[in-house]
Symmetry: C2
Subunit: 236 residues, 2 copies
Amino acid sequence: MKSAAKAQQAEDSAETGAQQIRDAIREAIVERRLSPGTKLSESDVGNLFNVSRTLARAALQALSYEGLVSVEKNRGAFVAYPSPDEARQIFSARRLVEPGILREAAARITPDDITHLRQLLLEEGRLMSERGQTARRAEIKASGDFHLMLAAISGNSIMQRFMEELVARSSLVIALYGQSTASSCGHSEHGDIISAIEADELDRACQLMLDHIAHIEADLDLRERKSLGLKEAFEL
Amino acid sequence: MKSAAKAQQAEDSAETGAQQIRDAIREAIVERRLSPGTKLSESDVGNLFNVSRTLARAALQALSYEGLVSVEKNRGAFVAYPSPDEARQIFSARRLVEPGILREAAARITPDDITHLRQLLLEEGRLMSERGQTARRAEIKASGDFHLMLAAISGNSIMQRFMEELVARSSLVIALYGQSTASSCGHSEHGDIISAIEADELDRACQLMLDHIAHIEADLDLRERKSLGLKEAFEL
DNA sequence: GTGCAAAACATCGTATACAATCTTGCCACC
DNA sequence: GGTGGCAAGATTGTATACGATGTTTTGCAC
């Protein structure tokens, strides 16, 4: 991992407690160990990680800023439960930025990067064939990592962070509205995109990316769940 | 303000203290009352707003997440001092997303929205001709508001929030590296973009937007300031 | 006079404590 | 029996307190 990717991301290794908790919860959400709508009370989170409410609260507020949890005043924090409209906005945003990211990434990509991308795909394919919850979770993560790696290669850490947010929130949306069992994105499409980049067919790569995002979105059933009483589903 | 714009932004009016402080500081940064590098100690901020360090800290951490302040472990928070590289990334991100936002906005724009945009422009022009610090500050804000309003019209609250971040950070970059006295963006270019939208010449509008961003960037002198001793400039 | 070391200071990191607000369950009253 | 209100519990909002870490200053030795 010393290629054009990850040019940024220097920041001191010593994360300040709250950040560790934030990352842990985020990972749990992205890997769907935490379902949308589950309550994340400050005390519970604090007890779980053996820290005070202060840190738990800080972590939850950070996640709130990323759109992964929603904190309701005087009521508590919950794993975000994106509305169909929100879901559409998330994918609309991805359609908006990912082609651009792809173009920038293609301009700076190194053979090393391509190797790593293909490695990621291999891993992803391996996980897809495996059975079991843990493999499924790892697959979800790997599938998102493809998009994140492109963002990393683009060399723009701002867009990278934005993509991290979008991918994480996409995971929530798919957990909520996804229909097919093939939870994540179509694996082969990732490979096609890489090939198009390698072949320097940039326009085609962008189109493939748009199609790819459209395919993910097409698998969603974005009908409004009863807007009231949505959280009861978890408390029953 | 009841047009296609601001479809979102419902959230309870009762902001939770920390958010008020965050907004106040952000406004101060965007309007350049706070210079890059200025120290924002938790105690000082707390005293200033007559709240405890707890809230001050929360506000600073939120701003840190937006990239407007950088908190250094055990050292304190400072108004962000974007490096030339960061500055380039910010504008690169804007070139990446603003044409897309413009396209979406054009697709949903109402006559009402156009009226408001032109109103904004009028206000901006008026402020440009005025003298004085407060007018200058208002002008800076108005200039950014044009871009933000387009994002609002696009109806995508995620992109809107992202643009808010980018515009705010742009203000910091311009404060640091801007050369011409005409601090903000070229006023007339905003009008040209609106006209192009009205005329349904979408491609031209996008090109104008790209040119516009390029013009802002061209006014910057992105040479590395001595990385050490940057904060002394404010403490002397 | 210069350089290093140690202590004093300032600031952040985290925990705990109390107040405000919302929810829930119970009881009286209609 | 149902409904309204009131009180008890739970949870968040904010403040204060203490410990940890980094910075600066001071004092001593060379």
